[in-house]
Symmetry: C2
Subunit: 323 residues, 2 copies
């Protein structure tokens, strides 16, 4: 099927057969946890015996980089160069060089002399909880509580280029399913969360204005910058934004801004429902109060920072200033 499968065999002709073997890439996914330094996490790596001897390493730099990333991803914490070299079977200099490129591209990241996967890699995989500013642990209970109070879909959105990305979504059995639920990204100008981010992030708003006309999603979409600006002015005053069938027919949203410790808006929390009743003033107030509660929580120093610096706990999202 694939022409490169035959070429792959060609590429596997070993340049230096006396080289130390590495694991086949598929096996990397299944390798036991690396024996690495642990932070405060209570779980230690499983000291199972190493896998049996493996075939010679691929000579392609993409495959090699993937092997490195696979190991980093499977490790319980940051990994040093020497261990990485031994485990992947790559010469130390080669591993060092590849890691240099991986770090430059953001796919890997240095922590002291060690390496771990980088935020770029997480971003490539698409929006998700790892992109929640602050920590999911801090944010999720608020989202759940808001869901319980409203029984509507609760969304958490962050700016993503000239759009928003939904990094958390909480809903229950009573949820009304609509096509817009399938998306993990949406325009700024016709979603409540997007309006919030535009209203309170002036750089984003300025950049967005330079982008020309606003695409119409429904007949209710605000497609003029002047109209949008008026709306954003109201949003700033009110502290809540609405989107009433501007993005998708049948969907009404209310959103409020969450501010980071530096006072800048970092995300928008919103409630989406299938009728105007679902986003009453009462609901909007709940949204605003939830946003405020999260903002307050983000404003406080929290002890997981120490864990973050010494070990990789996957529940944590990107630094606030990343966005």
């Amino acid at each position: 099927m694939w022409p490169y499968m035959s070429l792959g065999n060609h590429a596997l002709r070993c340049r230096e057969p006396e080289r130390a073997p590495i694991h086949p890439l598929g096996e990397q996914d299944r390798m036991p946890r690396a024996i690495t330094h642990q932070g405060k996490a209570s779980y230690h790596p499983t000291p199972f015996p190493p896998p049996p001897a493996s075939p010679p390493p691929s000579t392609g730099s993409l495959e090699r980089a993937t092997a490195i990333l696979t190991y980093l991803s499977a490790a319980a914490g940051p990994v040093g160069l020497a261990e990485l070299s031994r485990r992947t079977g790559l010469p130390k200099t080669t591993a060092h060089r590849l890691l240099g490129v991986l770090c430059a591209t953001g796919l890997a990241q240095r922590i002291d002399s060690d390496y771990t996967i980088g935020q770029k890699l997480i971003n490539l995989a698409g929006p998700g909880p790892r992109m929640v500013p602050g920590t999911r642990r801090m944010v999720l209970p608020h989202l759940i509580r808001l869901y319980e109070a409203t029984r509507q879909t609760v969304n958490l959105a962050v700016p993503r280029g000239m759009e928003i990305a939904y990094v958390e979504r909480v809903y229950g059995h009573g949820r009304v399913s609509t096509p817009s639920d399938e998306v993990d990204r949406a325009p700024l100008h016709c979603t409540a969360g997007g309006k919030v981010l535009l209203a309170f992030n002036h750089e984003l708003h300025a950049a967005f204005r330079d982008r020309g006309d606003l695409p119409r999603m429904t007949r209710r979409t605000l497609i003029g910058h002047a109209a949008l600006d008026r709306e954003l002015h109201v949003v700033r005053r009110r502290g809540v934004a609405y989107a009433k069938e501007e993005f998708a027919e049948g969907i009404v949203c209310a959103a409020a801004p969450v501010f980071g410790p530096d006072g800048r808006v970092v995300m928008a929390i919103s409630v989406a429902g299938a009728s105007p009743r679902a986003v009453s003033a009462e609901v909007a107030d709940l949204v605003r109060r939830t946003a405020h509660a999260i903002s307050s929580a983000l404003d406080r120093p929290f002890p997981v920072l120490a864990v973050q610096a010494t070990g990789r706990t996957r529940a944590e999202g990107p630094p606030m200033s990343f966005l």
Copy 2:
């Protein structure tokens, strides 16, 4: 404030300044959505004007591959070779060749003549909702309901090599925080979810037995295969597994299996609490019933599969057979 901020600057030290300039990869993250074929999603790409002319592409294959993946990640659906070539500035043959390697490593995936990101890339980013078998939309309401019924942390775990990975975790304000909450992976033998997977997945169990002694996590950990086998026998009969301070001090869990449409166990749902009271027989029954409800839901044909085949909707997890 954030340790990442200072370390990030350190990691940005450039290795070869004389190299041909590449797209700043940060800018790739911010490129507008590609104008591509849409599936059933109601959101169409934002028809903003293309970004200004870019500098020539980097000549490093890692950087080039990253540029390709970045574009694929930002696209609303699968992308063809010609568009990818035009958009990244790479010669068509080069792009084709790189995509061949990317697909071989699983970082990208073909859909007909088009390409999209691959599951391997998602896996590299670490456990998360995209690894939920079936769809998150199908599973999450059940998790939320179980949380509401128990007010304890609800976990959803899938097998991951010789471990489990937590792909969903739902908790509220009343949650008691413990060190084990920080992990996204855990051993099979001393977690309730892991026992469930071992009990009902015979291949996994057989492979696990070949791995030698079981590492002790606490003084209550079962560290003999014979003792574990007896426990698993009880789990099969009972349909529920417990872990009582076997993984982490102070944590008690009850878990039940979720079966896919082919009758094989695909994940384990569990409730974790800080006392035996938190996982009473009543709670265990709730867990079992929730697992059964999810199994039933997964057993039904669901229309999102059609979307999966024609467009990339990020809410969907891997195919059931992937695990």
